[in-house]
């Protein structure tokens, strides 16, 4: 195994990103000036990276370049961005480019750090995509509550408007701060003038999206990768990451780590232990790790410790890196109680459109709550399994399926605690008042 090539950006509890850089030369998205200097100016951005890669390139050349670089969407769907570009470019109508910077995942901070420090990289990528598909508008979907992110973007857009290089008009759109409002179809619906709730559509947004126009919609990090690939080429781009998922990856370390909300750029072959030791302050495997977001999968600490921190390799074992969240659960905490809290919150985030989600998730949440309090019987555990299976794959979006996923993986990973709880023994960590690992991130949203 080669040496881990890690680059860390610590973020303080005051939600202000601070740098703790190791090996600046290898960082890609987050290389450049110190985090304390805030958002990088357009001038410094251009001086550091040179002119944007899409200048002087034909649309089909750009699309071929993006295809060759193999950039996957970084919002959780892991969909090849090139397929969206090709579909949008060949569909009738003038395309729109949407940058999803809403980052609705409570503990995730990677988009906030990326957009907060390197707004021009994201906007360069959006412009490259716009010229690759012939779009006449760029919409950046954000939450106004994320003030640092919005301020950084507003300043960046102003800088670009003043310079002569700005080709495609871009503007910020303020979306509601709800978990499902960041889902692709909900974003499209909101930008078309509807509610920010998911909708099952016959056509993907790339074919018919915002106001029925072809729409390229992806996560902010995806566009930053496109900007780098357009500048330095597909071959350079694939030197980082793995063949299954080329390019570096931003990961948020949350929960019981030295500084919750630390964003790490994974460049070379890295394991969870590399990242958690170097940037999370851990010295031994934790009890468990929640991977991929609140609707991700729990992994036992010792399993995760040696596992590769790589989207593609994790995907092979059925675990999605998703939005890149790695939430650590310390030995003294209770995974069942933690999951019950997360699921209670997720159940409240339903858009209320689909019966199985609106009724099934609260039912799961209350049974899990009873289990966490030691009030549940073995039949209740069977009922949780049954409900989790029955909401799977239903509804207009992946929300019920995601809840089912995190519940099943919790019951599986915390089987010992599960037995203790079912026997009615007091959970060693279920008492109120404990500083819950993900509480800070959750509280800051409201």
């Amino acid at each position: 195994m080669t040496a881990p090539l890690l680059d860390a950006v610590g973020t303080t509890r005051a939600r202000r990103p601070a740098f703790g850089v190791a090996g600046d030369a290898v960082a890609r998205l987050l290389s450049g000036p110190d985090a304390r200097s805030g958002p990088e100016s357009y001038e410094s951005h251009l001086a550091r990276l040179g002119p944007p890669g899409h200048h002087g390139r034909r649309p089909d050349e750009l699309r071929a370049l993006v295809r060759d670089s193999g950039v996957l969407g970084r919002g959780g769907g892991e969909f090849p961005i090139a397929r969206k570009l090709d579909l949008a470019a060949t569909t009738l109508g003038t395309p729109v480019v949407v940058v999803n910077a809403s980052e609705g995942e409570p503990a995730s901070r990677k988009d906030a750090v990326l957009v907060g420090l390197r707004p021009h990289l994201v906007l360069d990528g959006a412009e490259a995509v716009a010229s690759a598909v012939g779009a006449d508008e760029i919409l950046v979907y954000v939450h106004r509550e994320r003030t640092a992110m919005c301020r950084s973007l507003e300043r960046a857009l102003l800088e670009r408007r003043i310079s002569d290089l700005d080709a495609v008009p871009a503007r910020l759109v303020d979306g509601p701060d709800r978990y499902v409002a960041g889902e692709a179809s909900a974003v499209v619906r909101f930008l078309s003038g509807g509610p920010a709730a998911p909708r099952r559509s016959a056509l993907t947004p790339a074919a018919s999206g915002v106001r029925n126009r072809p729409t390229v919609l992806s996560n902010a990090e995806t566009y930053a990768h496109v900007a780098l690939a357009a500048r330095f080429g597909a071959q350079w781009f694939a030197e980082a990451g793995s063949p299954g998922c080329p390019g570096s990856t931003l990961v948020t370390l949350a929960g019981d780590v030295a500084v919750p909300g630390t964003v790490v750029e994974v460049v070379g072959p890295t394991t969870f232990s590399d990242a958690l030791e170097a940037c999370g302050g851990l010295v031994r495997p934790p009890q468990a790790v929640l991977v991929g977001g609140y609707e991700g999968s729990w992994l036992g600490g010792s399993v995760a410790w040696s596992a590769p921190l790589d989207r593609h390799a994790l995907g092979h074992s059925g675990v999605r890196l998703g939005c890149g969240l790695v939430a650590v659960l310390a030995e003294e905490r209770c995974g069942i109680a933690e999951t019950a809290r997360i699921v209670r919150w997720l159940a409240g985030e339903t858009a209320g459109q689909c019966g199985p989600c609106a009724l099934g998730l609260p039912a799961i949440a209350s049974l899990l709550g009873a289990l966490a309090d030691g009030r549940a019987r073995r039949s209740d555990v069977r009922e949780i399994h049954r409900l989790a299976a029955s909401v799977r794959g239903r509804g207009a979006c992946g929300h019920p399926t995601g809840v089912s996923e995190v519940v099943e993986s919790a019951l599986d990973t915390f089987s010992e605690e599960l037995h203790r709880h079912v026997r009615g023994r007091a959970c060693h960590a279920s008492g109120a008042g404990l500083p819950l690992p993900l509480a800070a991130a959750e509280g800051s949203r409201r």
């Binding site: 959780g76 769907g77 969909f79 889902e183 692709a184 179809s185 709730a197 998911p198 909708r199 099952r200 559509s201 016959a202 056509l203 993907t204 947004p205 468990a288 999968s297 992994l299 036992g300 600490g301 010792s302 399993v303 074992s317 059925g318 675990v319 999605r320 459109q353 689909c354 019966g355 199985p356 989600c357 009724l359 099934g360 029955s390 794959g393 239903r394 509804g395 207009a396 979006c397 992946g398 399926t401 996923e405 099943e408 993986s409 599986d412 990973t413 089987s415």
Partner: protein
Amino acid sequence: MRALSGRPGRSGSPTAAYRLLLDGARCDGHGICSIRCPERVALDEWGFAVVDATPVSSPTSLDRARRACRACPAGALDLVAADWAPSPPEVTRSRRRRARR
């Protein structure tokens, strides 16, 4: 549904494969679909439709499936080509392989 050209079971060839597709956001739990096509549509404990999405091929079950679609007051049920994939792709996420501690 836009994805479907022609009307299944009529203009389509009798061997063409179709399947039922439910829009969960539209389903209000009227339950008529389950009466019309009990072999394809079940109701969950709250009365919302649970659809068997395997291809419908025999003419009689295709007929019943079509009746179920027509009967839905919310317009939540559709017959689509069997190989047609809905968006978003995340919905049909494969079951994770269990990793134990």
